[in-house]
């Protein structure tokens, strides 16, 4: 694959990047919704009141930041109104998992991933050897996070984090901590201010680490004295492998596998925390349709139905949970896992995503939560976020209504609850 390939790859990567951005935006929006940044000021001041960052000095000092470094990067601080806007905008629509996965696992991204697997074969083999994490998963995270390094974000990490530290009162301690970690990265010369750019939330580099994750998990794999996740692919991928290993990755096990459920299946078994051995699933009539399933019979596997009973079904290992530690959204972990499989040459998903899976708008999500609450099911408040508690409430109401107990917030269910608001 020589230089001729490189240019092709760049062009394709750019195409992929364009698609990625929509996906990334969704994830960012979802992450934002999770963090509930309602407390952020919606005003857009051109500059922060002087002295706001000065309050950070004692904490920064205590963490070994020198006065000169502190002043160099905070003295001319101007609030980034775009970051405030991105952090406060609430997503009206969240993409259904099928569309989300399809947007991320494109033929282009698969093909580039395969080319990069060949190009970095030696490095990936060495990382696999050192951390026990499957190379295809590393490539997939790279592909999903930054379209293989072509879309790593262009905002100053320090400015974004300083903006959030000042504007987001509710999570200020979190952002301050990230900001100080970012300053430390610069002080240590791990990267230069010009290359220390990333997402609005301060994630940067090939695999989009926030500064605290960098501090804890980044590694200098090529032994050049810098943990360079911005310019060195080996460092970035090894850092990701290190992060996954710390998050509980188990060497040799897959992330999961698509399965076919038997007819008459009781979907309540997709509730979280009900792992069973592969033997048990098979004995109950679950089928493995794809070849080369490297699964042990005694391995605990959790059933996941990303789009409910009508969509594809997966049995996942604890490695799926490790990917969730990177980004806590089922659709994200599934996109990473499936992209990894596709890069490794495995087949596309067998089951179709439900075409009728109309994503609920924000108002509809809140309405569903209100209707569930009225029926006596605790959704943990009405916030438009379909989290674990809301999904548990959905399961409970599905049980009462004798519907397939899949915990999926479908439009159908909303209509049913509207028609029959109280039991």
């Amino acid at each position: 694959m020589g230089s001729a390939y490189a240019s092709v790859s760049r062009v394709r990567a750019c195409v992929a990047a364009a698609v990625l951005l929509s996906g990334a935006a969704v994830m960012a929006a979802a992450a934002l919704a999770d963090s509930r940044l309602a407390a952020i000021s919606t005003e857009e001041p051109r500059a922060a009141p002087q002295g706001q960052l000065d309050a950070l000095w004692p904490a920064a000092n205590a963490r070994g930041i020198s006065r000169s470094v502190f002043e160099r990067y905070t003295a001319d601080f101007i609030l980034d109104p775009e970051v405030v806007r991105l952090a406060t905008s609430q997503p009206e629509h969240v993409k259904p998992p099928g569309a989300y996965v399809a947007d991320l696992v494109t033929p282009e991204r698969v093909e580039i991933g395969r080319a990069l697997a060949a190009k970095h074969a030696a490095t990936l083999a060495a990382i696999e050897q050192a951390y026990g994490v499957d190379r295809h998963v590393l490539l997939a995270i790279w592909g999903v996070e930054s379209a293989y390094g072509t879309s790593t974000g262009s905002r100053s990490v320090v400015r974004s984090l300083a903006t959030l530290a000042v504007a987001d009162a509710r999570r200020a301690p979190f952002w301050r901590n990230e900001l100080i970690a970012a300053l430390r990265i610069l002080q240590d010369g791990q990267t230069a201010p010009e290359t220390f750019v990333g997402s609005w939330a301060g994630a940067s580099g090939h695999t989009q680490f926030i500064p605290s994750a960098y501090t804890a998990h980044a590694v200098d794999f090529d032994k050049d004295g810098r943990r360079d996740i911005w310019g060195t692919v080996a460092d970035a991928l090894a850092s990701t492998a290190n992060y996954l290993r710390t998050s509980g990755w188990s060497a040799g096990a897959p992330w999961g596998i698509e399965v076919i459920l038997p007819s008459g299946f009781d979907y309540s078994w997709s509730a979280p925390g009900r792992p069973q051995t592969l033997s048990q699933w098979l004995a109950a009539g679950v089928r493995i349709p794809t070849s080369s399933a490297n699964l042990q019979l005694g391995l605990p596997l959790q059933l996941v139905l990303p789009a409910g009973a009508q969509g594809p079904a997966f049995l996942v290992t604890k490695n799926f949970r490790a990917i969730l530690r990177y980004n806590n959204a089922t659709a994200y972990a599934l996109a990473v896992g499936h992209l990894a499989d596709r890069i490794a040459g495995k087949a596309a998903l067998m089951a179709a995503w439900p075409s009728a899976d109309k994503a609920l708008g924000r108002g509809e999500r809140e309405e569903m939560q209100r209707l569930l609450t009225a029926r006596g099911h605790d959704t943990g408040g009405v916030d438009g976020i379909m989290g674990d508690q809301t999904r548990a409430a959905i399961r409970a109401t599905q049980r009462t209504l004798k519907l397939a107990e899949d915990g999926h917030p479908s439009f159908e269910l909303l209509q049913r609850l509207r028609a029959d608001p109280l039991p």
Binding site: I260, L261, P262, G264, F265, D266, Y267, W269, R274, Q276, L278, S279, Q280, W281, L282, A283, A284, G285, V286, R287, I288, P289, T290, S291, S292, A293, N294, L295, Q296, L297, G298, L299, L303, T373, G376, H377, D378, A396
Partner: protein
């Protein structure tokens, strides 16, 4: 093909929760797993399951070999064996049909302690008391467990040998070890059963067992056969199938090893004073007999408590909440319970022993209560756990701990206190938990987890 056989009559078929020993040679379950061959995916669902079972058996071989089982015995034992998915206590995720659980936990006290059943057994028991007087005297003398209790175990377990064990032990133990709720325990039992074949204790044709793999007149698990069986007649064999003396001595030996206190009863039916109700139930609220008496507890039918047990620890037992008789149970009740972890089982054995000894029926009749399905009991236990009640175990079984906590919940929420788990209580809990835990909904007593004895030895 996987056989679908009719559900066996559940009388006396019991998995043991205690009394098994982990074999030192046993490797952790997963460590020996073989990778599932890619070929498996080409097969239809049923064949995938069969193939997975075949691999499970293949993986079992090294451990069996480590126990001294020969390849020939191993192959003979498993030839033509398919898993039996119709037996209880398996986990078949997603299968809608609920396999009936142990009779001890699916029947109401009135159903389980069926009077005509008890009467019939006690009549048979009294005849057997005479017929086996010599063996029973020898057992009392050598092991120290009273003859009536030993006979009652025999009666409860197999109706004095009348119940045939319907399953092939290797088939049910392999199924349980492969898909059961307690795989590790059953794997150990399976290996011991293979060893029994190797040692020619039984042949493949005579190795009949309950769905849980219990065998012989007094239903011993394979590991219990090796650790607790007793050769009373001195013929060099521990024949719990053909020798009544051996089988009864083995049962007595098991009770002795599990802590039987000679000279004490299992417990007594009592009348409670107005100041006591089902809230005081459970081994966690044990106190000396003399204190119960001081509180106003009296024995039924005008009888006196034996004078020599005043210092013995006793606890209140109300198996049907406030809808039936109450008992004061002694340590030996818990010893019987260790034979099979169920209050109703221990009560059945205790009452049958009393009847064989000439005692009679309970004074207070059982009320008509309904047993909540296991799934609902499980939900109820989870809800109570969420509310801060000290639920010992979420297991779907409405035992002493669950009943008394239900009572505590009822009291804290101003409901009628009957300590009986019902759909109505569960619905009330759902509403409570949906509103969030209430400060008032705290149990008024704390229970200690995992306690299994009264500490009087």
């Amino acid at each position: 093909m996987i056989k679908t056989v009719a559900q066996p009559k559940a009388v006396g078929l019991r998995p043991r929760c205690h009394g098994w020993r982990r074999v030192a040679l046993l490797a952790p379950l997963v460590a020996t797993s073989v990778l599932l061959a890619s070929a498996i995916s080409a097969l239809p669902a049923l064949a995938q399951s069969t193939e997975a079972f075949r691999q499970f058996v293949t993986e079992l071989w090294p451990d069996a070999q480590g126990m001294g089982v020969s390849r020939a015995t191993f192959d003979m034992a498993f030839r033509g064996v398919e898993p039996d998915l119709s037996i209880p206590d398996l986990v078949l995720p997603g299968q809608a049909k609920e396999v009936k659980g142990q009779a001890e936990f699916t029947r109401t006290p009135a159903e389980y302690l069926n009077v005509s059943h008890l009467t019939r057994l006690s009549e048979q028991g009294r005849a057997l008391l005479k017929q086996h007087a010599a063996e029973l005297a020898k057992i009392e003398q050598m092991i120290g467990v009273p003859r009536h209790v030993v006979l009652a175990i025999w009666g409860r377990e197999t109706a004095f040998g009348a119940h045939r064990s319907p399953h092939y032990a290797i088939q049910v133990l392999a199924t349980q070890a492969w898909l059961g709720r307690r795989k590790d325990m059953f794997r150990t039992e399976l290996l011991n059963a293979l060893k029994m074949l190797e040692d020619k204790v039984r042949t493949r044709d005579t190795m009949n067992a309950s769905w849980a793999g219990a065998m012989g007149l007094t239903q011993f698990m394979p590991s219990e056969f090796y650790t607790l069986a007793y050769d009373l007649d001195g013929d060099g064999r521990k024949d719990i199938w053909g020798s009544v003396g051996d089988a009864l001595a083995s049962a007595a030996n098991q009770l002795k090893v599990k802590g039987w206190i000679p000279g004490q009863d299992w417990g007594y039916e009592v009348r409670l004073p107005a100041s006591l109700n089902c809230l005081a139930e459970g081994a966690d609220h044990a106190r000396p007999m003399r204190e119960w008496i001081k509180l106003g507890v009296v024995r039924t039918r005008g009888r006196e408590f034996p004078a020599d047990i005043m210092d013995a620890q006793a606890f209140l037992l109300t198996p049907a909440g406030s809808y039936g008789p109450a008992f004061l149970a002694l340590e030996n009740f818990l010893v019987i319970k260790r034979y099979n972890m169920s209050d109703l089982y221990a009560l059945f054995v205790g009452n049958l022993a009393d009847r064989i000894a000439g005692g009679g029926d309970f004074e207070t009749p059982w009320g008509s209560v309904r047993q909540l399905p296991a799934k609902s009991v499980e939900q109820l236990q989870e809800r109570m756990q969420g509310l801060g009640y000290s639920v010992a175990k979420v297991d779907g079984k409405a035992g002493m701990n669950t009943r008394s906590l239900v009572g505590a919940y009822q009291k804290a929420n101003g409901l009628k206190v009957d300590c009986w788990p019902t759909e109505a209580v569960l619905t009330h809990m759902r509403a409570t938990t949906a509103r969030g835990p209430e400060p008032a909904a705290k149990p008024d007593h704390d229970t200690t987890r995992g306690r299994s004895g009264l500490g009087v030895r």
